[in-house]
Symmetry: C2
Subunit: 456 residues, 2 copies
């Protein structure tokens, strides 16, 4: 294996140059004007894969193209799918960037550009590791299929269709995604669980029109007040959701998991500063790391009612609305939780107003057994790649594609992030650590040795 690592070490400078070239494409999927840039980015990546000897295809879709690239076939070996995306978040507001977002700038051990951490740098690291195998003639003990899409930042619509259409070609023993983060270079970690989501709109209708608050105030329910009282009752002073049945299906954390999660570096002071909150607040009885990854939450995402302009308008608003998302944890089911929420809201809504619930999208939570062979193999690759003992962690967000891989391909996903907490993904001055890039390549190279032992 040493030729692979020697090759990676020897080619770092060029890998950085390549990454900068790739990051120069303003492949902003949210902005239609950038469609040609998305295609150019896809072509660049496809050419690179093809140049290494991968069987590469650019698949046309109703949106941006999807790339597949396969390593030379190894009969009888397992197959792994490496997922990534070449599209990036919009760079706006430009004025908050230190240097132009599509002119990569190296400063110290970081390179700044939109999309460089999310996700160009991370999947390019995987491709570089494959390059090291192929160029040094080191046999890959598995088959790899790269699946790189161009609409991750806008909902992956095309990818879902593509997955169901190409189940056979995409069949694999496991999926590897590097599109997430780790606590620090010294704390590599496998993300073994994600929260799910369920979205809901709550609308309260009162009078048939906005009423004069002087003429009518005191005789009819105020929908904004009714909404506040309804929502306010959903959480108690200890941060616990009061909806009957809400926690019914929450899997208990094992001692091993709690120990792992709470061994992750965490400074309440720095975390509070990061959020900009006056004070941290969460469900009593759990650490912040547990609160944000292992516990379900109910968040109001938006409130709308009545007059919102300058000054005041003396009305009883006709209606009030809240947008809500519920984060789910294993083994909660979006439908079951949503039914409990709806039942409770209907039960406590006063008869003085009309309640309308509109269910939005739902996504299941995800979990790879933390003590299973796959997870343990991934931990060994992370430890070897980063040179520090790898931990287990969970993430509080959702990655809907993970559920799709499970459903359509029947495959588990390993989330092996290379992003650091200060990478500013989705924010101005996004950057990627060159040390994480290098460690990510080594981790990937180790992974193709470790994983086959776990899945065969």
């Amino acid at each position: 294996m040493s030729p692979v690592f020697d090759y990676l070490a020897a080619n770092q400078e060029r890998f950085v140059t390549d990454l900068c070239d790739y990051a120069r494409f303003p492949s902003v999927s949210a902005q239609p004007k950038h469609a040609p840039d998305l295609r150019a980015a896809a072509n660049w990546l496809a050419n690179r894969a093809r140049g290494l000897g991968l069987t590469t295809q650019i698949h046309e879709t109703a949106g941006n193209p999807i790339i597949t690239a396969r390593t030379p076939h190894v009969a009888g070996a397992p197959t792994y799918l490496v997922y990534g995306h070449y599209d990036v978040q919009p760079p706006e507001p430009f004025e908050l960037w230190t240097s132009p977002p599509f002119e990569p700038r190296i400063a110290g051990r970081n390179v700044f550009a939109r999309g460089i951490s999310d996700n160009k740098g991370q999947h390019l690291a995987h491709l570089n590791a494959v390059e090291a195998y192929l160029k040094t003639g080191t046999p890959l003990p598995c088959n790899l299929t790269f699946l790189i899409e161009g609409e991750e930042e806008v909902g992956s619509t095309q990818l879902y269709t593509f997955l169901t259409k190409h189940k056979k070609e995409l069949a694999c023993d496991a999926v590897v995604i590097s599109d997430n983060g780790i606590p620090s270079l010294k704390h590599p970690a496998l993300t073994y669980a994600l929260r799910g989501i369920a979205a809901l709109e709550v609308r309260i209708d009162g009078p048939s029109r906005d009423l004069h608050s002087g003429l009518f105030g005191g005789t009819v329910e105020n929908p904004a007040m009714a909404l506040c009282q309804l929502l306010g009752r959903l959480r108690d002073a200890r941060g616990r959701i009061t909806i009957p049945g809400f926690y019914d299906d929450v899997a208990k954390l094992s001692a091993y998991e709690r120990k792992q999660l709470n061994a992750l570096p965490f400074s309440p002071h720095q975390y509070r500063k990061l959020t900009g909150s006056p004070q941290l607040f969460g469900e009593h009885g759990f650490t912040p790391e547990e609160q944000r990854t292992c516990r379900p939450t109910l968040e109001i995402n938006g409130l709308t009612s009545g007059y919102q302009g300058e000054g005041s308008k003396t009305i009883i608003p006709s209606w009030a609305r809240a947008k809500i998302t519920i984060r789910l944890v294993p083994n909660q089911k979006p439908k079951r939780v949503m039914a409990a929420v709806a039942k409770h809201l209907k039960a406590i809504c006063p008869p003085t107003v009309k309640l309308t619930l509109t269910h939005g999208h739902g996504g299941e939570p995800y979990l790879v057994s933390p003590s299973g062979l796959l997870a343990q193999a991934a931990l060994r690759a992370l430890t070897a790649g980063f040179g520090h003992p790898a931990r287990l962690m969970r993430e509080g967000g959702s990655i809907p594609i993970v559920s799709a891989f499970k459903k359509d391909l029947g495959a588990e996903t390993l989330l092996l992030g290379m992003a650091l907490p200060d990478d500013n993904a989705h924010s101005p001055d996004e950057k990627f650590s060159l040390d994480a890039y290098a460690a990510g390549m080594r981790m990937a190279a180790h992974l193709w040795q470790e994983l086959p032992r776990a899945t065969t």
Copy 2:
């Protein structure tokens, strides 16, 4: 006095024609493009007053002109000020009008046009009554000063300045305003009390920016939830405001007042239909009429937080805001009540968020002694004018100018409305009853006989 009433009866048709002419001016004070129409309406009214022999002036202001018109001086007689406004509410949305808002349409005993009830028809009725006195040579036992402004619908800014500048010329023994309503033609009523108002903006700040609800949800307070819980606690299940001291200065209703108020025609079914509310709701222990006029309330006028567009956005919003107005009753003081509200909000706001209160405008509640000479004289004029026994009523709204008349001129105000509950003031298809118009003229003619007996 019979020549006056004969004259009024004989000239009804022309008075209606005049009213239609006046209502044709689209004198919308909220819309700058209508400035010439406001001036034209002012000129029309001034010409009419001047034609009757009133000493009429059009006073230029920084906004729309203010008209004063005085009847020929009667030495030693008391002086009354008749207030009104020639500006009107915006007519939008046009599509909800049965006929164009500035093309008056007579249907049965109603005439439809924007501003015809609020307030052109009502102050024109007063001018018609004066015409009857002057044209029949009937001596007016008092001096009248008409004060007609053009910015009532946008806050009367110019009028307040005008009042303080012209205290002397506007000195009077009482003010008469017909810019309000009565329960029905068979239930004329004197509005002897108004609610005051205090406006407040409550802002809750949490994280320094919108946070990803997946990554951070569960560890920081959600400002929208904090706002809901804060506001939700301000009112109990019996409709009572829970703020300590909130009711401290509320004057107790006398048995006479309660009897009068509850003798007003009231159908809970029709009232509910009028509001379009699923069900009526108010402070327990009070009738709806008492709730909406004699009891203070706290209304949320608007809610703003986070994402309000289509679909959902998975954020913990950085802040949340509510606009609130409190309706005050005699003898509450805006400052004192607001201090109690602010104290309580600060006391119950959790330390996990930052609370900011911004005080808006305040207006004192108003009350004319219901058993005093002025009120009793007004009741007699109403009874005679409408041909039905007049009642005492209160109004739930505020008329800030009433407090200004008290403060600047030291004069009490009598509110002698001619509008009916279905006049659609501020709404599409505004109308004025021709029977109310005629009765209003007779009431005004009687008033100048009755009032001098009460004030001299």
